[in-house]
Structure formats: C-alpha cells, structure tokens
C-alpha cells in the first residue's frame, strides 16, 4: 500500500512539475549558500585561531608566576629542563618549545621602534608550529654565527626593513642594565598573529641568553597536543604538577579568538534558522495549495476506503520528497563548492591590507565538517514536516468526502 501511496505522491509532484522544481531549486539554493558561507566563515575563524596557536600560545602555555601581568626577566621559569622531561613522558603532548622574551627597542641608522625580543631555537620552532611556513622573505636562519634576526612583517614595514639590513636591539638584561646587540635581518615572517607581526624580533636563543644575561630559565613553554580535545585534561594535570607556575590554555590566552568563534557560531545559527524558516514558508505555501486543490481527489480516496492516516502519509511523502531532493542537490553543490575552497582556497589578495588589519590570511581555506550536512538534513526535514502540519489540519477540517459533491 505504501508503495502505491508513494507512487501517487510522486505522480502529484510530477503533475505540477514546474512548481515542484521551484521548491527544489529554492531549497537547493538556500542550502548551497548556507553550506558555502558556513564552511568559509568557519575556515576563516579557525585559520586565525590556528595561526595564534602555532606561532605563540600552542594548545597550552606555561609561564612563570606573574609573568603575564608583568613580563620581565624576574618572572622566568627556572626548571625548564625538568618540565621538558615531564612533557616528553606524556604521550598526549606532540611537541613543545622553550622561549625567552623581553621587551626592548629595535633601531636602524634612521629610525627606532619598540619591539619584543623572542630568543628561540629555530629548528625546534619549525618542528613545533611550522614557523618556517610563515617566512615571506629571506632565509629561515640566523646564520652560522647566530647574527641574523627574523622580523615580524608589520614591524619590518614600519621600520622599512629589508633582508640584509643592519639593526640594533636594546633591552634591559637581568642585571637591570641596558644591553645592545647588532644583527642583520635574515628574514621576514608573516604569522598573521598581529601582536607578533607588529613587534616580534626572533633571535638565536644562545645569543639572546648572552645579551640578557640569562644562562638558564625561559619565559614561556608552548605545548602542542596530538588532540586538541585533551587541552583541559592536560592543562589541569600540568597545573597540579607545576603548582608554582602559570599554566594556560590557548583560549585563556586569546579570549578574543574564542569569543570570535562563539560569535561566528551564533551568527551561523541565526542565519540558518532564518533561511530555513523562510524556506519552510515556501514549502508550506506549495503544500497548502497542493492539498486544497485536491480536496475532491482525497474525498474519492476516502470514499473507496483509503484511511486518513494513509492520505497523511502521502502528503508527508510529497513534502519529504521535495525537501530531500532539494537537500541532495543543495548538499552536492555546497559540498563541491566547499571542496573547491578547501583545496584551492578563496583568494582575497585584493583586500590584503584590510585582512592584514584583522590578522587574517589572504587565502581562506574552507572547512568541511560532516556536521554541516547533518544539521542541514535535520533542518530541511524539520522544515518540510512542519510545513505540512497546517495543510493537513485544514484538510481534516475541510471534510473531503463532502467535497466530492462540490463543483
């Protein structure tokens, strides 16, 4: 019987083919737009977060107690080697790096500016957060004698620095004296982490220790995990074991990025709700007319023994076929669009100045999450089912049996 009802439902949709196609196209277009928008916006947000994690915070960072409020050489982590051993033993930890940092001044023969000295091990940084992938000019190298420096691209732009230019870094050392170091720019980094691009000067860790007179001790230990879901568990464990240090997850260090992610989720949800409500209204109109114009047909069916439940099933089936067809076409188009932008990215180089101001990459790669398609299927199903409730109620009240006698 259900096969017969399904065939009748299909025949009804075919009879009003243009109308049915319009509804399918409407659902497909809305889904296509929503999926593309969601994947691209999420991709944009996650890229910004990923840049911050890779270039600075890691999934978790450890600081000396009080360092974040008062960054200086008197709030260092003294037992870096011990913590390294501890982290090596934890299978959840993918990598970690040790950094020494101090605020100071960068100067050329003509100009000077405030800067943040980042004394690092370049090879370890590359293994950790792929720092070398952020290089836009020059070499990812401090040179044989460690006299090179990598400079953030915004700082380089403001100082009009080029690869090979001589710079002088000055900063307070651990004896509270002002120490200076002459270096040459060996490369320029664009991490799209605004704070780093604006002020970071990466120098060799050993040379930084000499300059700042810090033979041991580090300012920050940045940790990356194999699975980001483990952040809270690892953070709690580390905090318990290193009670005198400040252990922070990336979202505590970059609350604005977390808020940005939450805002984007709310924005996507509101847009999706709005679109599916309106699409539901479109399906409702078609189903209402479809039911009303077939009152006599339904009356005859009831007269020959079809139950109202079977008619209800038929109307639901019509609505569901429309919704499912639209969903399949929309998902296919949306999926293909997302795959294209996942693979090749959306190139917004023409707006690079604006994207740089927001710390965003000029090429945005879309995300493809199975959840997009699952949520869309639930939303389309919900919209198609809800949109036939009122037409069915009207159908029941209209007494189709009596409609047989109407002209």
């Amino acid at each position: 019987m259900f096969n017969v009802l399904l065939r009748i439902a299909l025949a009804s949709l075919q009879r009003r083919l243009a109308r049915s196609l319009l509804v399918i196209v409407m659902i497909a277009m809305s889904l296509w737009g929503l999926l593309a928008m969601e994947g691209l916006y999420d991709g944009m947000t996650e890229q910004v977060i990923d840049n911050a994690i890779r270039s600075d915070s890691g999934d978790i960072s450890i600081y000396g107690q009080g360092f974040r409020l008062d960054p200086g050489l008197h709030h260092l982590i003294d037992n870096g080697a011990e913590i390294s051993t501890l982290l090596h033993r934890d299978a959840r930890v993918k990598s970690h790096v040790l950094r020494l940092r101090q605020d100071g001044l960068i100067a050329t023969a003509h100009y000077s500016r405030n800067a943040t000295l980042m004394a690092v091990d370049l090879a370890a940084e590359d293994r950790h957060g792929r720092l070398a992938s952020y290089l836009v000019e020059g070499d990812y190298d401090f040179g044989e004698k460690g006299r090179g420096a990598l400079v953030g691209f915004r700082l380089a732009d403001k100082m009009k620095l080029k690869v090979g230019d001589k710079i002088v870094l000055s900063a307070q050392n651990s004896s509270n004296e002002v120490a200076a170091l002459a270096l040459r720019v060996s490369g320029i980094l664009k991490t799209n982490n605004m704070a780093l691009d604006e002020s970071a000067v990466y120098i060799d860790l050993a040379r930084g220790r000499d300059m700042l007179m810090v033979p041991e001790g580090v300012s920050q230990i940045s940790i990356l995990l194999h699975d980001r879901q483990e952040v809270m568990a690892v953070r709690q464990k580390l905090q318990a074991e290193l009670g005198n240090l400040d252990v922070r997850s990336w979202d505590e260090l970059y609350p604005a990025l977390m808020q940005g992610r939450e805002m984007m989720a709310i924005f996507n949800l509101i847009t999706s709700l709005l679109v599916f409500c309106v699409a539901g209204l479109g399906i409702f109109g078609v189903m209402l007319v479809s039911v009303l114009e077939r009152l006599r047909e339904f009356g005859i069916m009831l007269a020959i023994g079809t139950t109202f439940a079977e008619i209800r099933f038929m109307v639901f089936a019509e609505s569901f076929i429309l919704g499912l067809s639209g969903y399949l076409v929309g998902s296919l188009l949306g999926g293909l669009t997302l795959f294209y932008f996942y693979r090749y990215g959306l190139d917004l180089t023409m707006f690079s100045a604006g994207l740089d101001a927001f710390g965003m990459d000029t090429v945005t790669y879309a995300l493809i999450r199975p959840g997009y398609f699952g949520t869309a299927l639930a939303a389309v199903s919900g919209a198609t089912l809800l949109s036939v409730l009122l037409p069915l109620r009207i159908l029941r009240k209209a007494r189709p049996m009596q409609a047989i006698n109407r002209i």
Binding site: S30, Y41, L105, H110, R113, K160, Q259, V275, A279, L281
Partner: protein, 407 residues
C-alpha cells in the same frame, strides 16, 4: 486605472497570499535597511574612533617619510607648513607632532615606547588624548619634563602619577638624547597597543632635549567638516607644493578602511543568501496565485482582453504588494535605525574582539540616512517586482482555450 482596480480586488481575494508576500517583503526590506544602517554605523564609529583618538583626519609629511620614516625625511620648516595650513580654508585646528621611539627606564623596568612632542593645547581639538585621562592631570604647554603616559605602558613600567622615569633615545640630529621625566597624568584610550606604547611631552620641551626646534615628523590637521577631509587634503596639497604632502585618513589608515569594506562585503553576501530564499518564496507564491487564476485569465482572454492588458493587471498587483511590503519594511527598518542611532547597541560580548583589532568601540550606533534608506527600499521594490515576472509572463503565454481548461 481599471487595472489598479482589478489588482486591488485580486489582492483582497487572495488575502493569505497577499499577507504572506507583504510580510516577507517587509521582513526583507527591514533587514536590508537595518543591516545597512548597522554596518555603516558600526564602521563609521570604528573608523572615527580609530581616527579621532590620535591619528587624525589629515596628516602632512615630507614626501618620502612614509616610504622611509627616517630623521632625514622630517618636516624641517614647521612654520612654513603652519602658514600654508592657516591659509587653507575649511580647517578647524592643526599642530605639529614629533614622534620618536625611545627606551623608558623606571627603577628595575625598561620598556621601549613612543615618545612624542605635541602641542597640548591644540591636541584638545585634534585628538581624544585629553578626554582619555584616567589619573593625574592633562599637561599644559610649558610644563617642561612633565609626562603624559599611556595606562598600559605605566603598568608595564610600574609607575604612577608623581613617579620619575628616564628615557634614552636619538635626537633629531642623531645625537644621543636622554633625560628624566615626571609622570603627571595617565591616559587610557581603549586602544591597547597605543596605551601600551605612547607617552607625550610638550613640543617646546621635546624640541630642546631632542634638538628638534622647528622640526616635526608630521603635521596633524582637523577639517571643520570631517566628511570634507578629501577636499581639504586636495586644497592643502595645492598650497604645500612638492616639498610636503598631505594625506587624508583614507590613505593613512588604508588597512582599516579596507577591513571595513571586507566586513561589508561578507555582510551583504550573507544577506544575499537570505534574500535569494525570500525572493524564491515570493516567486512561488506569485506562481501559485497566478496559476490558481488560470481559468479566470483564460476567460478574460476569451472575452477580448489583450495579453498586454492582463500583464499590466498582474504586474500592477505585484507592484502594489511589493510597494506595501517595501514601505512597511522600510518604515520598520528606518524606525529601528533611528532608535539604535539614538540608543547605540552595546556589544559587551564583542569588546575583547574589538580590542584585539585595535578598535576602541563597544557600543555601536546605527546611521540614520534617509537617502540610503530610500535607495534600499527602491532596490527591494525592483527586485520584488522582478521576482514575480516569470510566473506572470509564463501564465500570460498560455492560450485562452488551454487556460479555460486548466485544472
């Protein structure tokens, strides 16, 4: 006139369809009007905040200063520039500034920052420095080594009002410059980076200690009407000749201007997805009502009504519905724009996000621009009528005999 009469009758006869169409168009128009007002308003607020806090609407520099901001490319005749500015109409205030980066040292802390020599009296009209004071007092010209310090910089240096600190830097003649300063006031603009690096002394004192008499890195100009900044810039360039160049905020803050443009583009793309669905629904509803009246159309054709006349009747009907929806939606959108223009929207959740991007704004007023609202309404009206044309034209092409027998 008769077509309007018929159209009105049909609108009443298909009340549900008419109501849904009007409501959908109202919603769409209200959304567009409000979204435009919100985007324009929030962007204006962010830009005006960013411009007015310190950078100013127009800057005059040596032609090579932007490309190479060295001490060789200063304004070496401040008085000549001041005379050119004074002779240019449309200018409310102007003053020279000299910005340089130095190392500040206080007790056990040393931090790099920007030390600027400014005209404190003139800055009251050029920037928001005076109104951003949190503690102490706003200095006056002739105060000597009295320092007006950014809140975050004061925190990093661990100094308060009344404390002394020293600076080390390079004078305008490349000489070594150093002196002791006394903190008399602390300001907080809300722009984290600015508050973390900026400090100000009187230009008269600065000129003496930095050997910068009659020199400036740039001149800041406040036009009487900020919207006329580009015209005033052009007039200034005519007077300044080739020795100096005036640039409006659109050039000096190109990144931020472009960032707002990118934000608008993504905003309109999202609206476009919603609008596509809404116009599909309008199209579907028009389709349903036009084809429901196919027999009526056939009879009208059979009694001699020309296709053009039927087209006029149906288009008049769509236009009236579109007009009603657009006017209602425009009024709702305009009402919201007006209300939130007077009572700005507070985005407490976004405060951290804005701070991260250097945008000191947590409350966003919408703009209320009647001409823009009318433009949006006209656009929605045209789109709404266009979206109904396909079913109208298609129905009008059916032969009278087929139309009469249409089921």
């Amino acid at each position: 006139m008769i077509f309007i009469h018929f159209a009105l009758r049909n609108i009443r006869a298909y009340a549900v369809r008419s109501l849904v169409t009007i409501l959908l168009l109202s919603l769409t128009t209200a959304m567009l009007v409000f979204a435009t007002a919100f985007m324009d308003g929030s962007h204006d607020k962010m830009l005006s905040n960013a411009v007015e806090i310190y950078p100013g609407y127009i800057q005059i520099t040596h032609p090579d200063f932007r490309a190479k901001p060295s001490l060789d490319n200063l304004i070496f005749d401040v008085e000549a520039v001041a005379r050119a500015v004074a002779a240019t109409p449309g200018i409310a205030a102007a003053a020279p500034r000299f910005e340089t980066f130095v190392l500040f040292a206080a007790d056990e802390k040393a931090v790099g920052g920007m030390l600027s020599g400014i005209d404190f009296a003139a800055e009251r009209r050029l920037s928001r420095l005076a109104s951003s004071r949190t503690t102490g007092r706003y200095p006056e010209d002739g105060d000597g080594n009295q320092l007006y310090l950014g809140y975050e910089l004061a925190r990093r240096l661990q100094v308060e009002v009344g404390d002394e600190l020293a600076f080390v830097g390079t004078g305008a003649d490349y000489s070594f410059a150093a002196d002791n300063l006394e903190v008399v006031g602390i300001f907080r603009t809300g722009l984290f980076d600015f508050d973390a690096t900026a400090a100000f002394v009187g230009k008269d004192y600065f000129d003496g200690v930095m050997a910068a008499t009659n020199y400036a890195t740039h001149f800041i100009v406040q036009p009487e009407d900020p919207h006329a900044a580009d015209q005033v810039t052009a007039a200034l360039n005519e007077r300044l000749g080739r020795h100096y160049v005036a640039e409006s905020w659109r050039t000096t803050m190109e990144g931020l201007v472009q960032a707002m443009l990118v934000d608008s583009i993504f905003g309109y793309l999202t609206l476009a997805v919603i609008f596509v669905v809404i116009f599909f629904v309008v199209l579907i509803y028009t389709w349903l009502t036009v084809f429901a009246r196919m027999r009526e159309i056939g009879v009208l054709r059979a009694v001699g009504t020309r296709p053009g006349q039927i087209l006029q009747m149906l288009v008049a009907e769509s236009a009236l519905l579109a007009l009603a929806g657009v006017v209602l939606g425009g009024m709702i959108g305009a009402g919201l724009a007006w209300y939130f223009h007077l009572h700005p929207i507070t985005l407490a959740m976004s405060e951290e996000v804005f701070k991260q991007y250097g945008l000191a704004a947590s409350s966003m007023p919408t703009t209320f621009a009647p001409l823009i609202i009318l433009r949006d309404m006209a656009m929605m009206f045209v789109l709404a009528v266009l979206s109904t044309l396909y079913p109208i034209i298609k129905a009008n092409r059916v032969k009278p005999i087929e139309a009469i027998h249409h089921v």
